[in-house]
């Protein structure tokens, strides 16, 4: 995950508290998605960024998950996400996000 973004997120967590934060991801390629989710829950697996060894355990969601899309205004969801939802493997994304939330005990709070 981008090193500057890691630093910014760590600053935010320090300033406002990790328990007030929730992450929504947009990657549709599974390797990148899982790397980002892993970094934001367990820390940077590459040990290169500000989140190396920092387990923020942030709850991670994906914008294409039904539970997230369903909470958006329908016209906005269709206009902004309709095409991405058609080409992405949403079932695979939902399964991966569910695994991450379960693993870190970060089910919806």
């Amino acid at each position: 995950m981008d090193l500057e973004n890691q630093a910014a997120i760590r600053r935010l967590a320090d300033e406002v508290g990790a328990d007030t934060l929730v992450v929504v991801l947009g990657a549709t390629e599974m390797q990148g998605l899982e790397l980002a989710a892993s970094t934001l829950t367990d820390g940077d697996p590459s040990y290169a960024g500000a989140l190396a060894g920092v387990s923020l355990r942030l709850p991670v969601y994906h914008i294409l998950e039904a539970g997230v899309r369903g909470g958006l205004p329908a016209d906005v969801a269709e206009e902004q996400l309709g095409m991405a939802a058609m080409v992405a493997d949403v079932d695979q994304i939902e399964a991966a996000m569910g695994r991450f939330r379960s693993a870190v005990g970060a089910a919806p709070r």
Partner: protein
């Protein structure tokens, strides 16, 4: 869904971008405190 929480939107160039995620969530009333678009290679 994210009521009372501060949202970090991390998009991806080949997926859904950060600004699109942020726009969608703000339309639903969420407070987006950070947004970015990454490029995974």
């Amino acid at each position: 869904m994210f009521e009372g929480r501060k949202v970090i939107a991390i998009g991806e160039r080949d997926g859904v971008s950060g600004p699109v995620i942020a726009e969608c969530l703000r339309a639903a009333g969420a407070e987006v405190v950070f947004e970015a678009t990454e490029c995974f290679v």
